[in-house]
């Protein structure tokens, strides 16, 4: 038992790849929280305004896509950053 422990202590494995993977997960997971909420708000409000005024649906849809695009950019920065991180 003691010899096994001593052996485990003496051979230090390389933990960098594991830490890199954890870091990537945290970066992308964290970056996805805000845009997730934001896109939900944008689309939800767009739907409620479209149902209140169906004649303005075309304009609302265009603006909705713009809002989604701006909000989504943050999540995509996180996505790209997660790949840029290297061990």
């Amino acid at each position: 038992m003691l010899s096994v422990l001593a052996q485990a202590a003496s051979s230090t494995p390389d933990i960098t790849p594991g830490l890199t993977a954890i870091g990537r997960g945290i970066v992308y997971g964290g970056a996805a929280i805000g845009p997730g909420i934001g896109i939900g708000l944008v689309v939800g409000n767009a739907i409620s305004s479209m149902s209140r005024q169906p004649e303005s649906a075309g304009m609302v849809r265009t603006t909705m896509f713009l809002g989604i695009a701006f909000t989504e950019a943050l999540a995509l920065f996180g996505f790209v950053l997660a790949f840029i991180i290297s061990g």
């Binding site: 713009l66 695009a69 701006f70 995509l76």
Partner: protein
Amino acid sequence: MNLAIDFPPISHAVEWPIIFGGDVLGVNKVVLLMWLSVIVVFAFFFVASRKQELIPAGVQNVAESTVDFIRNGIILQTMGEEGLFYTPFLLMMFSFIFVCNIWEVIPVAQMPVNARIALPMFMALLVYVMYHFVGIKGQGLGGYLKSSLVPPGVPKAILPLLVFIELITMLITKPLSLCVRLFANMFAGHLLLITFSIISATLFAIQWQIVILPFSAFLLIALTGFEVLVAFLQAFIFTILTAVYIGQSMHPEH
């Protein structure tokens, strides 16, 4: 029974060997697909406009509805009447990006050109130069800087902070997000399709009946349809953002 699944590293998924040419200007599959997209877009509009008929049919019909979509769906909504000058530019941009993206789901090709950052970066730079040029030409250098940097009706105390933020937005965030949005969406879609293909193929190799088990095959089919939607949506968003940026440079916000 070995259930281990080998996912290739990212570099295997998007890097292609050079077919011919040197180290720097080498031509690989992505470049060939880009050239092919140019030819496809050109041929499509050439064929559509060669024999114009009053009642459009076939290719002419599709081409006319594309032009109509760019005109009524994008330009008139964002830039107004004066923006109609940019119809050819935005039409070509939309068609080219869409054809480049749609290679993602076409068998044999199966590689979106925009999953490498070179093409989105170049197009974002083109738009970047263009909206500054339009702004300086239309309003003069001072007027352009004033209308884009100084938001009206802001208290003097926080004005420097806002000018700084607007400067960062104008110079860095706009082109960067334009480029990264297109690139990352296509890249993520490509990786998603690869992941589900590999899962399906592994299950199929173990025993062909269980390929339906965790719905990976169904999800692969559904995601292929979803990626067609994403390819269209990203081309649309890139074009509409270009229109919005050029429109903002043309007439200042009040």
